[in-house]
């Protein structure tokens, strides 16, 4: 659920945990999000193409994982926050039928820029870590 009240920079402390997010991975989500990100690479919508690459089914594209990194952090930070950067390391693929649980923790704050670094990890229930990395988000000095 989206937090419609934006967090102020001073409200956030290193070590704060973000509310976890559970995402049901379906063929609809994988394919729909691949198309919404304009990524028509066959492995994201054509099962036989994914199988030719050694996986049992279509799998989530990188742009979607990147999008979930951002959404997860803005859900917590609120609408007046500004995403400044995402670094994303990809792990095990997300396939239909999996459930990905995304967790996060505030790792650093920069008083000068008002930018907060949040470490984010998305782990699926079958193959483990799907994505991990850092989202840099600017928070208003006052809410």
């Amino acid at each position: 659920m989206m937090n419609t009240q934006t967090l102020a920079y001073g409200d956030v402390a290193v070590g704060d945990k973000l509310p976890p997010l559970k995402i049901d991975i379906t063929s609809g989500l994988i394919t729909g999000a691949a198309i919404a990100t304009r990524d028509f690479t066959p492995v994201h919508h054509e099962k036989w193409a994914a199988q030719a690459g050694g996986l049992p089914d279509v799998f989530m594209n990188i742009l979607t994982s990147n999008g979930f990194m951002g959404r997860f952090v803005t859900d917590w930070a609120g609408p007046d926050s500004t995403i400044k950067g995402v670094s994303l390391k990809l792990g095990a693929p997300n396939l239909p039928g999996f459930v990905m649980t995304v967790t996060g923790e505030v790792k650093a704050k920069d008083d000068y820029s008002g930018i907060v670094e949040v470490a984010v990890e998305g782990e699926n229930n079958v193959w483990g870590t799907h994505m991990s990395g850092t989202v840099k988000i600017e928070l208003p000095k006052e809410a």
Partner: protein
């Protein structure tokens, strides 16, 4: 691959570093509200500054913005990606790798920076160069090279609005990995949750694991000098005798040392995962999981009691519980 072939390949690929992949290209669609809405709809992103014009107007954004994570979306070529793609510098580079057997390709990292929020009407032009190619690396997927492609994005005023470094591994696939992936599905097509890594059983230690399968932890004993030893091996370190038998451990022990595995998490193992070196009362040491308590409560010297238990559908293992003993 001979050293000469490798040198030849590396000369060819390094000639690509610094080359522009294609001329700067303006996105097929400028930033626009319908594509933003579709993206937010599928990703379940309810941030009102992306889709609620009334809310966005009154917010600090002063109007609708695109999710910053959509930056690369504005550069995508769309449906032609699933037909025979046109050759560009990036695909030429991949072909050089393919021709040397590095046919695997895996996106491993993206690092994006967003310099400002984009609004409907903004025009996005993409500039793309091959930024770097690593030394040859041995990875879990196979031997390969990491290619970093740098995308720089500019707007209608030629101002930089963001950048993206995309890291790809081109590799010679390990056959075993491919077999794993394709054999890994159950009857309904869903991949099965992996079980624990099977114990390695060889000539000198299979008897020990077979005893564990039957619920007992044995300790090897030299027949000539009666010295106990573990892990199993053919010769006594004290008297060099190769004659041996075994005794069954009582599984009374104490924690000699321990560690907790945090990252990376291995599928098929329960977390938190604590692994101890247990000093058994018989005098040998055994590596096993410490369970039945919080990791914070494990201390060196803690008295423990072991039980041989079934830990997944295929695996019997000794595990150690803190005393008082769980009477079962």
């Amino acid at each position: 691959m001979t050293p000469e072939e490798r040198k030849d390949l590396e000369e060819k690929i390094h000639a690509f570093v610094g080359r522009e992949v294609s001329a700067p290209t303006r996105g097929l669609d400028d930033v626009n509200a319908p594509m933003i809405r579709h993206y937010c709809e599928v990703l379940g992103d309810e941030n009102p500054v992306y889709t609620d014009a009334g809310f966005a107007e009154k917010s600090s954004k002063g109007g609708l913005i695109a999710p910053p994570t959509m930056l690369q979306v504005w550069s995508m070529e769309g449906y032609p990606m699933c037909q025979e793609p046109e050759m560009d510098v990036q695909r030429e580079l991949h072909k050089v790798f393919d021709d040397s057997g590095f046919i695997g390709v895996l996106g491993t990292n993206t690092t994006s920076e967003y310099y400002r929020d984009l609004r409907p009407g903004d025009q996005v032009t993409t500039h793309c160069v091959i930024d770097s190619i690593s030394e040859q690396k041995a990875t879990a997927r196979g031997i390969g090279y990491f290619i970093e492609t740098l995308y720089t994005f500019t707007d209608q005023n030629d101002e930089e609005i963001g950048k993206l470094v995309f890291r790809v591994l081109k590799f010679i696939p390990n056959d075993s990995n491919e077999a794993d992936a394709s054999d890994d599905s159950g009857d309904d097509g869903m991949p099965e949750t992996p079980s624990r890594i099977a114990s390695p059983r060889g000539h000198d230690n299979a008897w020990w694991w077979e005893a564990v399968d039957n619920g007992a932890v044995l300790i090897q004993r030299c027949k000539s000098c009666k010295t106990l030893r573990h892990p199993p091996r053919p010769m006594c370190g004290e008297c060099q005798s190769m004659e041996w038998d075994s005794i069954e451990s009582s599984l009374d022990g104490e924690v000699f040392s321990f560690t907790q595995i945090h990252y990376p998490k291995f599928p098929g193992y329960p977390y938190p995962l604590v692994i101890g070196v247990i000093s058994l009362s018989e005098g040998t040491r055994l590596i096993a999981n410490i369970v039945g308590c919080e990791p914070e409560d494990v201390t060196i010297g803690m008295k423990v009691k072991g039980k041989v238990e079934q830990v997944d559908e295929k695996t019997m293992l000794p595990q150690f519980y803190p005393l008082p003993v769980d009477k079962k």
